[in-house]
Amino acid sequence: MRVGVVTFPGSNCDCDTLEAFEFLDVPTKHLWYADTDLTDVDAVVLPGGFSYGDYLRSGALAAKAPMMTAIRDAIQGRDLPVLGICNGFQILTEAGLLPGALRANRHGQFRCAWQTLRVTNESPLFLGLSEGELLRLPIAHAEGSYYAPAGTLADLFMSREVWLQYVDDRGDLNTLTNPNGSLANIAGITRGNVAALMPHPERALEKAFGSEDGRRLLMAWLRGLQERSAHAS
């Protein structure tokens, strides 16, 4: 099981993400946006950061990278599992690999804070994260307000693709704990083998940093990968 982590020009959470997987004893491969070779990776992570400085729209310029074409092909060809974190989420929506879009935060500011999230739908992509479970993770973004047209949003809920939502410490949904104005407090979604979230699990691997829920989340994703690859073989 080898996880590829893509560096786009301006990505700045790529090293944290690579280190997070090394910390979890997972072999990694550092992928460069201009390359297209995905042969020896079993899954890909699009890390957070400011690809192309978030100029034009966050994720828009990176979505056009050769690596994204390769990833699109691999998703279509071999159902490549992909996880997008923060800017990675933005890139995936800009590339049309996930529905919806991420708009500027409602309050117009960058927001760095700890945030409680609820696992809204159990997903085979994250084995061991059960419905209703709460996670505490850091967020750090200026354009994280999830938007999808009404029909798309309804589909997401119907097909249980709404994965994570911003909630208060008791697990309740309310607008006060929505840090950015996301529709339905959406923090993360899945579609097929592609999943993405705005918070940063790679920054919450150990208690000393405030929470180890990021490790739980990444471990769940890795277990999901293993399970599916065992199933496939």
Binding site: Y55, F110, R111
Partner: protein
């Protein structure tokens, strides 16, 4: 061109003619104007700054390089420095602040260190326009720091009308390197190539160094304002990665960032430091617009550029590293043995000057021993008279802009990127884990405001001591200090003396503590219409944190714990928030420096002893503010019953004095004797000032006052747009 047009006086012009044995041409004059400016030459302050203590067992690089460097352990060195961007931030707050961040980060990169943390130290007025400027500056700091991916882990913010026309925007950057990454600007050798990498040069900020930073702002100077420099954190990130890669592969012979006075200053400094000359071919400098003159190219302050020196042998490898990131990389000259900086443009020579004329021969204001001694003279008047205690003072102090919660600011900064921040901006010092080391890095900052307004010497001492007190509260061993000096026009005796006394205070306190000042920055001419700001020093300190994964809490952790005040000060409210509200500006108390090393060592050992449950240094807002801040922890579960023996005005002075070198510490009641023995043996006074309970309330036992925590926090959380509670 006239000498005055480039900010030179006629004696300075005469000195240039004498050095050159001829009249300089316009470009040469421009080079002198920029490099002999206050900003580049430190002409008014060099002698003064040389009095700061520079040496210590951990110092790898003292002042003189792009940043100071200290040793964290065998394998890791820390580069750090503070830089100001005051005038540009006033003119264009977002870009001014953003380019300030970019600039100091490149200083760290120029030392071969990878930036790992930023701290912003800000001073603003309190009128509506100043608060808008603050908002824009915060946006700018975040815009650059967040995008380039360096966490802003701590900061300092204070307000006063004195900063209305001259807000202060100082940024400290901290980087890490392994000793093998050692690189400097002083190692260029004849025959090597000079490469300019990064942004295309435009007419950005020309005259920034010579004029903007050397003049006082007066209404109606619009035409002298340089073209606004725009920061590009995206290119900044690519440039940082490529440069560090070239350094780590050992491909560079020397390295210099381009800051004030652009290519002129970078080439002159590099050549002077290396004792070499250079030939520059300006035709090869990539330009962003047509029609730039040699003068423009030499003095442009376009951001996101670095100057590299490499041997012929390594040239192609260096070029390919930059090409990989799609960064422009041009050979613009070569190093010569001639001791001449010879500039060519359009295939003819346009300037020829010796780097040492530009650097070492810059005129400098001397400082006599007698002057140095006089800087310590006590100031007359300004003694604080404590008002009788009024329970409303507690909320008054908590809601003062200098004390209240900074979350609305720091939540706009990414403080957790790089996954190394164990303690971020909600604490008094930041704590970072350091990969590859058992030790962590503690960073504390503090700048003066009120403290240096009447007695700058006392303020300078106070700022150093509070930074060190904050490091000590974590048991962190201080490795080095950096100081950003901000003051008025040095040609006016009053402004100069105030600034000099401030520096003397920094020097005395740092020397007393045995901690070196390894670098810093000076920003003068912070003066509008003849009115200078309070001399203001922004101190930053870095320390070795022996247990980064388990910081000593700075909040209440258990009911029944006893609250002690370590080293209770004399009852002097001078320079405090309460004194300001009730009396006006008063002199900050002077501290006996002889006991500094003993106190810092004792506190640091105490923090590491395993006995205390929590600790926090007393700072702005005094003991009262510290106790309330310790209440907030994770929840409002705990409260404190204060038991102070002082009454009336003494109670006010006890609760709200801001004298440095006092700490609040918590111990389990069963450890009371151990604590008393520990401090008794060291001869340091401690008094019990309260007990932790589970009421979520602050109460004063003897006086019968009590406040629910929520009331106190409401005061503390007051938005910056609103004034303080008035009793």
């Amino acid at each position: 061109m006239q000498a005055e047009e480039v900010g030179l006086t006629s004696p300075e012009y005469m000195k240039i003619v004498e050095l050159m044995h001829r009249k300089p041409n316009d470009l040469e004059l421009g080079l002198f104007g920029a490099l002999w400016s206050e900003h580049c030459s430190y002409k008014s302050t060099k002698a003064l700054l040389s009095r700061l203590p520079h040496d210590g067992p951990h110092v790898v690089q003292g002042p003189g390089a792009n940043a100071g460097v200290v040793r964290l352990d065998q394998d890791i060195e820390v580069a750090f420095k503070v830089e100001s961007h005051n005038h540009p931030s006033y003119v264009e707050p977002v870009q001014g602040a953003a380019t300030g961040v970019g600039g100091i980060l490149r200083d760290i990169v120029a030392m071969g260190a990878r930036p790992v943390a930023l701290a912003d130290l800000l001073r603003f007025g309190i009128d509506a326009h100043s608060l808008i400027l603050l908002d824009r500056v915060v946006k700018g700091v975040g815009q650059y720091g967040n995008a380039i991916g360096i966490p802003t882990v701590i900061g300092d913010l204070a307000f006063s009308d004195t900063y209305r026309g001259n807000p202060l925007v100082n940024v400290m950057a901290v980087g890490l390197r392994s000793p093998e990454m050692h690189i400097s600007a002083s190692t260029a050798r004849p025959g090597q190539w000079l490469l300019l990498v990064g942004q295309r040069t435009g007419r950005d900020g020309i005259h920034g160094a010579s004029l903007l930073a050397s003049r006082d702002f007066t209404e109606g100077d619009d035409d002298l304002r340089p073209t606004v420099q725009v920061g590009d954190p995206f290119l900044g990130k690519l440039l940082m990665e490529a440069t560090l890669k070239a350094v780590s592969e050992g491909l560079l012979a020397a390295l210099q960032d381009l800051g004030a006075a652009g290519l002129a200053s970078a080439t002159a400094e590099l050549c002077d430091a290396s004792g070499v000359g250079a030939e520059l071919w300006l035709d090869r400098v990539p330009l962003r617009q047509k029609g730039l003159t040699a003068y423009d190219i030499m003095l442009s302050e376009t951001q996101e550029r670095m100057l590299l020196v490499t041997s012929d042998e390594n040239l192609s490898q260096v070029v390919s590293i930059f090409e990989h990131q799609e960064i422009l990389c041009s050979v613009i000259g070569h190093i010569t043995a001639s001791k001449e900086l010879a500039v060519q443009y359009r295939d003819r020579p346009v300037a020829s000057v010796r780097p040492d004329w530009l650097i070492k021969e810059a005129p400098r204001r001397p400082l006599s021993e007698a002057q140095w001694v006089s800087l310590k003279a006590p100031v007359a008047g300004g003694t604080a008279i404590a008002p009788a205690f009024d329970p409303r003072m507690v909320r008054e102090v908590l809601s003062d802009r200098d004390v209240r919660d900074r979350r609305p600011i720091y939540r706009r900064y990414d403080s957790t990127i790089r996954s190394a921040t164990i303690w971020g901006p909600s604490h008094d010092s930041a704590i970072l884990r350091v990969r590859g080391s058992d030790a962590g890095l503690a960073i504390a900052v503090f700048g003066t405001g009120r403290w240096a307004s009447v007695d700058p010497y006392a303020g300078g001492v106070g700022a150093v001591l509070l930074v060190l007190a904050r490091l000590a509260a974590q048991g962190a061993e201080p490795l080095g200090l950096t100081d950003g000096v901000n003051a008025g026009n040095p040609d006016l005796a009053e402004s100069y003396d105030a600034m000099a006394a401030l520096v003397r205070g920094v020097a005395d306190a740092a020397r007393a503590a045995g901690v070196p000042v390894t670098g810093g920055n000076v920003s003068l001419h912070n003066e509008t219409d003849g009115q200078a700001i309070w001399p203001t020093v922004m101190m930053g300190g870095v320390g070795r944190q022996p247990h980064p994964y388990s910081p000593l809490p700075d909040y209440l952790t258990a009911s029944g714990d006893l609250l002690f005040l370590i080293n209770p000060s004399e009852l002097n409210l001078g320079g405090s928030v309460v004194a300001l509200h009730h009396q006006g500006m008063t002199a900050f108390p002077r501290v006996d420096l002889r006991k500094v090393p003993h106190l810092l060592k004792s506190v640091s050992d105490w923090a590491l002893s395993g006995v205390p449950r929590a600790m926090r240094a007393v700072g702005p807002g005094g003991l009262g503010a510290v106790v309330v801040r310790m209440m907030q922890g994770q929840t409002l579960a705990y409260g404190v019953e204060m038991d102070l023996k002082e009454r009336d005005s003494d109670l006010t002075a006890r609760l709200f004095n801001e004298v440095p070198l006092q700490w609040v510490t918590l111990v389990d009641s069963r450890d009371k004797d151990r604590a008393m023995d520990y401090w008794g043996n060291l001869g340091v006074e401690v008094t019990q000032v309260g007990v932790v309970n589970d009421t979520g309330t602050l109460s004063f036992k003897a006086q019968g006052h009590s406040w629910p925590g929520s009331t106190l926090l409401e005061a503390w959380h007051r938005p910056f747009e609103e004034g303080a509670y008035e009793p």
